[in-house]
């Protein structure tokens, strides 16, 4: 498999949100605006790359029966590191995403990639897979965030271009499901054509 394909696979063939349908909790909860979606995606990207690399390194010495607890400990460590770093250096971002950062630990994407990819591939390939899947996740969250922000608040990345309130439902949970559903249809239709 070529190195480039490892990255692009994460965008289309293995897009975590629209094709694998993993990590729905942060997807639905943090995409109230484009910026929030983008930030959450980048946070997950950071954890994915590091955990993929660490797990592909230690996989050969981990006994099968305890591999899940070991992976979770590794992932949780990186998430906590990220949380501390954000609290220290990006307090405003931490305030909006706060609750959802610890939840990256239980994001199925991270453990899923550890199980499906990182534990049987080289460190470099795993890092590339992390980048691909992470960017795919970031892109999906940002797109959902953009659509919800335009419809729900009449703005895009905080820049308001429609005065007034927008459609409230799109800021709340029902809108998240609707936008996700329609984007999934659209995405799979386009992806199948190629």
């Amino acid at each position: 498999m070529s190195k480039l394909k490892l990255i692009t696979d994460g965008f289309i063939k293995n897009n975590p949100t629209f094709v694998l349908v993993l990590g729905m909790c942060p997807t639905l909860a943090t995409t109230t605006s484009a910026m929030n979606g983008l930030e959450m995606g980048l946070a997950t990207l950071f954890v994915l790359i590091l955990s993929n690399m660490a797990i592909s390194l230690i996989a050969p010495i981990v006994p099968d029966k305890v591999h899940i607890p070991v992976y979770i400990v590794v992932i949780a460590t990186f998430v906590t590191v990220l949380q501390l770093l954000m609290q220290a250096y990006l307090p405003s971002v931490y305030q909006t995403l706060g609750l959802f950062i610890p939840l990256i630990v239980v994001n199925c994407i991270v453990l899923g990639r550890a199980e499906a990819f990182a534990n049987k591939n080289s460190v470099i390939d795993s890092a590339l897979d992390g980048i691909g899947i992470g960017l795919g996740f970031t892109l999906s969250l940002t797109v959902i965030g953009i659509v919800r922000e335009i419809l729900g608040s009449g703005s895009i990345f905080g820049w308001k271009f429609i005065p007034g309130d927008g459609i409230l439902a799109f800021v709340m949970a029902p809108g998240a499901f609707m936008v996700l559903g329609y984007l999934m249809v659209l995405f799979n239709k386009i992806a199948k054509k190629n």
């Binding site: 996989a59 010495i61 006994p63 607890p69 070991v70 590794v74 770093l85």
Partner: protein
């Protein structure tokens, strides 16, 4: 490729991984401890500065009954204003407001520290200009109740519960400053 799942291997592997992870976490915690404290303090000072008139030295946090904590801003011995952190229960959970109160009981300004109100409705207490600006210079002669309850506070449309909670938080702060004044007299 994976090591055999003997008891010894499993114990060794888990212990090793946990030790390394604990060491990493301890290191990062120690490194970020000071920056996190600084960031929290900066956010607090910024929120206080927002609700108080300029000038004056800020005291340390002092606790009192009925409110969370308060800070006194004074120039020499004259008290310029009080910054009172006050919490009430809003629609979605606790609503914490920083209220700047002048010694005569006039509200100087307010800002939201933490809330979990409904996005697009109650959450507007943090962004709705009409609602937020009415607190600037809210005099002691006005009644701290929303108009629906016979007071002088314009509520946020469709968010009466949030508006009531916000008003109650301001009222707590103002009453606290009034009680301080009484003690001094």
């Amino acid at each position: 490729m994976a090591a055999t799942s003997s008891l010894k291997n499993m114990a060794l592997c888990l212990t090793g991984v946990c030790l390394i992870c604990a060491a990493i976490l301890g290191g990062v915690y120690a490194l970020t401890y000071q920056p996190i404290q600084d960031a929290a303090k900066k956010a607090l000072v910024a929120s206080i500065a927002e609700v108080l008139p300029e000038g004056g030295n800020l005291s340390d946090a002092q606790s009192a009954e009925g409110i969370d904590e308060y800070y006194v801003s004074a120039a020499d011995t004259t008290v310029l204003a009080y910054a009172v952190k006050s919490t009430t229960v809003g629609f979605g959970g606790p609503l914490t407001v920083m209220v700047g109160v002048l010694p005569d009981g006039t509200v100087y300004n307010t800002s939201v520290l933490a809330h979990s109100e409904t996005p697009g409705l109650g959450a507007k207490c943090n962004s709705d200009e009409n609602f937020m600006s009415q607190w600037k210079g809210f005099g002691p002669e006005k009644i701290l109740k929303v108009k629906k309850d016979g007071g002088d506070v314009d509520a946020i449309t469709a968010s009466t519960i949030t508006s009531r909670a916000y008003t109650a938080a301001v009222e707590q702060a103002v009453n606290f400053v009034k009680s301080l004044n009484k003690q001094e007299e």
